[in-house]
């Protein structure tokens, strides 16, 4: 039987992991909510963030610079993708899905070409650990959890307190009415895609000291991000947060009892079983 300390560590890991997944999946669901595009290349954008961050750290030696530059660059790439690849076919949703799948292949291959195969590690910018309730826990992981929470709070404020956020909610609620009122729909789409891409890339940079950098890391996260999006409800931001936390907690606590791979398969199976019972997910669509 695992001890109380082990369980506490698993819970902390679960919360951190869950918050990061939520950050990635929020972007995915934000894009879906507005553009109705399921961005299959989302994991690749996350990977590009980590790879880009690795190069920036190599060039400047600063993690902080990487955490700013890489997400901005990938965010800009996302805006270009929306404008160039998705805009011409935005009326035809299945075709946009195929386009994002093509992007997945292209971006992953670019990752392989510039980064090469194999995993490389990144040293955490915050060393040391904290001791609480009888356990020691890496300070960096706690910081990641806090930063993720902060980012989600910022996203909430952005959606509710800024002009663009209001436009985004408007476009999502009633596209025709929003267009009639003069909201620049195309511009909102570009910004939304860029924002989602940037968030995924930032998550990639933040996670790179924990999981390492690898050109295939996007595929792993894609499965997880998709399952929490399905379980949370397509388009529901609240649902994503809840599902991410549940997923990560179940998986991390599961690893105390069974192997890592079995825990992941078990968690995914549980999630899929949930989908059978409730195909529409936890929450109906709603931007909140």
């Amino acid at each position: 039987m695992p001890t109380g300390e082990q369980i506490l560590i698993a819970v902390l890991n679960g919360v951190t992991w869950g918050l990061i997944i939520a950050l990635i999946a929020l972007g995915l669901n934000l894009i879906f909510g507005l553009l109705k595009v399921v961005n299959l290349a989302h994991g690749s954008l996350y990977m590009l963030g980590a790879v880009g961050g690795w190069f920036v750290i190599g060039a400047t030696g600063s993690f902080l610079v990487a955490a700013v530059v890489a997400p901005l660059a990938v965010g800009f790439l996302g805006m270009v993708i929306e404008r160039v690849a998705l805009r011409p076919i935005e009326e035809d949703i299945p075709t946009t899905l195929i386009a994002t799948f093509a992007l997945l292949i292209v971006l992953d291959q670019i990752g392989l070409l510039v980064f090469g195969p194999g995993t490389r590690s990144v040293s955490a910018p915050i060393q040391g650990s904290v001791t609480l309730a009888g356990i020691t826990y890496p300070l960096y992981r706690l910081s990641v959890a806090v930063v993720s929470l902060g980012l989600m709070g910022a996203l909430y404020l952005f959606l509710h307190r800024t002009r663009y956020g209001m436009w985004m909610r408007g476009v999502r609620q009633d596209l025709e009415m929003a267009s009639a009122l003069g909201i620049p729909r195309s511009q909102v789409y570009v910004v939304t895609f860029g924002l989602g891409a940037g968030l995924a890339a930032l998550a990639g940079v933040l996670l790179s000291p924990i999981v390492g950098v690898n050109h295939l890391m996007g595929l792993d996260i894609l499965a997880v991000a998709f399952i929490v999006v399905i379980v949370g409800g397509l388009g529901s931001l609240k649902g994503v947060l809840v599902a991410s936390l549940v997923y990560a907690l179940v998986e991390n606590i599961g690893t105390l009892y069974i192997t890592t791979v079995d825990a992941r398969v078990l968690t995914l199976s549980l999630m899929i079983a949930f989908v059978i019972v409730r195909p529409d997910g936890l929450f109906e669509e709603g931007l909140g």
Partner: protein, 340 residues
Amino acid sequence: MWSLHTPVGTVTLNRAVLLVLFVIALLWPVIGVGDFLLFLGALFLAFGLYGASFDLLYGYTGLLSFGHSVFFGVGAYAATFALMDYGQGAFVGLLVAFLATILIAVGLGLIAVRVKSHGFVIVTILIALIAQRLAETYSGITGGTDGIIVSVPDIWIPLLGEYSVFDPTFRYYFTLGVVLVSLFLMYRLVISPVGLVFRMIRENEQRARMLGYNVTAYKLIAFVASGAFAGIAGALATYINGFINASRFSLIVAGDPVIYTMLGGRSTIVGAVIGAVLIEGAGNYVSQVTDAYQLIVGLLLLVMVVVEPEGLIGLWNRLQRRVKRRVRDSTPTPEVTTDD
């Protein structure tokens, strides 16, 4: 438009082109292309069947699946186990592949077709990603990336006798035969009343439901039929390669039929076969020159869907319409409007 009336039917330009392609496929071994091209020809036909099975689902029912690698892989492994572990023949292997994929497709389909709107796409890609992970992890069963060598026993054809699959010509015709029968069955399915419902679901799911059709059941039928033929394609590809490994389940493999279908043209069945031959044929040479082959394929797919979502057949039709319009414009007689 150009057409030729013969006692057996009207030959339009499209049919003439198809006929020529068919004759080339039929005579491929006879025109002396050599063993390697015979091997490639058989392999591309199997990939073409894989693509066509995807088209059955996406082109006709409108369900976009990125999880076809699962059926391709399950069919391949089912046939492998039937041959290697139970000593069965090649035809039994195909049958086992067919039945095993049906079983898997029913199970996965019950999850996938119930999720609303684009959830289907997500669930299929999830299935593919999970299968990939499982195939890599349980390498004791799948042989991992090292794979399993598959030796196919000699095949006995009624009236013709026994042949070895190592005979390139026989291997080619065996594949061609299985692929043609499968394509024919798929074609029969899509022109049947059931196929009509498939297309109605693609065009207007809500109306189909309103008219009293059990949309979920029809989607499941399409999913299972499509998966079963992908399973046969997987088994065929394994027979031809004489080898199988866990990378059959990779996401790249899941994308292949999408690329074939989009390049060839959706809702045509045969378009995917043409797309497969073109892509794989080109890939065979390109991959010798550059490592960036997958990158090129991805870019090609991206440009294709953004510029011409109907694929080569769409381009072809558009070209024909343009010629037709030019001919019509230059004719002074009053035109009779007809539907195409």
